[in-house]
Symmetry: C2
Subunit: 201 residues, 2 copies
Amino acid sequence: MPRMSAAEKQKSHDRILDAAARLFRERGIEAASIADVMHAAGLTHGGFYKHFSSKQALVAEAFRHAAGELLSGAGAGADAGGAARAGAQARFIARYLSPDHVADTGQGCPVAALGADAARHGGAVQAEASRAVARMAAFLAPDEPDGEDRGLALMALLAGTVTLARLADTPELAARVIAAGRRAAGILGKEAGEDPVETAV
Amino acid sequence: MPRMSAAEKQKSHDRILDAAARLFRERGIEAASIADVMHAAGLTHGGFYKHFSSKQALVAEAFRHAAGELLSGAGAGADAGGAARAGAQARFIARYLSPDHVADTGQGCPVAALGADAARHGGAVQAEASRAVARMAAFLAPDEPDGEDRGLALMALLAGTVTLARLADTPELAARVIAAGRRAAGILGKEAGEDPVETAV
DNA sequence: CAATTTGGATGATTATTATCATCCTTCATT
DNA sequence: AATGAAGGATGATAATAATCATCCAAATTG
C-alpha cells in the first residue's frame, strides 16, 4: 500500500525482528518461513527483502535481538560490583531456571532455544550466537580470578537445564530437572563464594 | 531391484537407521530429507515407506538408536555399584566433555544435537528424547539419596557444555567452554562425594 | 503542486519436500 | 517350473520454500 515515513519503516523493521525472534525460537529456524514471519508482523512476504538481504541475515539479527532483550531485561545492576552485581546475577539465574522460562520458548533465551541450530548454520548466525554466549557468560561471571570460566560453565548449566526441562515428557520430570538445575547452580555459585540462587529468594 | 531375504531387509533397515541417526544429528531434523537419508543408506527414496511409516517415526527411532549406542558404548560397568560404577561414570563424562565429541556431532549425543528440536516436535520424538534423558541421568546418578537429581543436573551441564562448545566462534572459546564444563562437572561430583573427572584421568 | 522515490503487495519462478502409486525383479513356496 | 509376495526403483503429486520482478500508492523533495 503506502509509502511510510522513515519512522514507520523502522517500526515495520522492528515488528519483523520481533516476530522473527519469536517464531524462530518457537518453531526452529527451518520450520519458520519468511512468509510466516512477515504474516506475524502484519505484512506480506514480498516486502521482506526491502528489510533484510536474506533469511540468514534475518536469523542472525533476530538472534542478536533476542539476546539483547534477555540481557537488558535482567541487566539492572550488572555493571556494578559486589553485592549489587551478585544480586543481579542471582535474579537472572532464578528467572532463567523458572517454569515460566521453560514454558515461554518464544520469549526465552535464544541460546537454549536455537543454540544447536546456530552451531550448524555457521556464518553470521553462529557468530551472533557465539557473541551472545560470551556476553551472557561475562554477565554471570563472579568477581574472581577464573571468573570467566565459571560464567561459561554456569551458562552451559542454565541452557542445558532449560533444554532438558522442555524435552521432558511429563510435568513431574520437568519440575525435577529445574529443581536439580537450581541446586547445581547453587553449588557452582557457592564454590565461587556465594550461592546465587538461595540469595535471590 | 531384488526381493531380499528377511535378513537382508533387516540390514537395509539398520543402514537407514544409521544414516538417519547421523544425518539428523549433523544437519538437524528439518534439513535432512528422506531422500538424503535413503541415499546415504545406499538406497533410493521411494522404498522408504516399506521401512517406516513416516518421517516422524524415523526421527523417533533414530533418536532411540543414537541414545542406545551412546549408552551401550560407555556402559561397561554401569550396572555395578561402588568404584566400578563411579569409574564408568567418570569415563563417560570425560569422553562426553572432549573435543572429539564436540567435533563429531553426527556420532555424538542426540540430546545435545537434537534436544531443542525434539522438544518442539512433540509426540514420539519428544517421548524418545525424554526417555533418553532419563536413562542417561540414571546412569550418571551417584549412589546417594538425591542421586537422581544430581544425575539430571550433570546431564544438563554436559549437554549444555557441548552445545556451547559447538556454538563457539573460535577454537579458543570452544576449548575454554570444555575446560570450564569439566571443572564444573568435577565440582558437582565432589559435592556428591568424589570427583568424576579427576578420577578418570 | 509535480516529480521522484520507495515501502509494501501481488504474483511468478525455481527448487525441494513428504508422501504415494506403480512397476520390476527376485526370493520363497508349491 | 509356476505362482505369489514383497523390497526396492521410478516417477508423479501436491505443498511449501526462498528469492525476485513488477506494480501501486503515498510521502518527501523541489
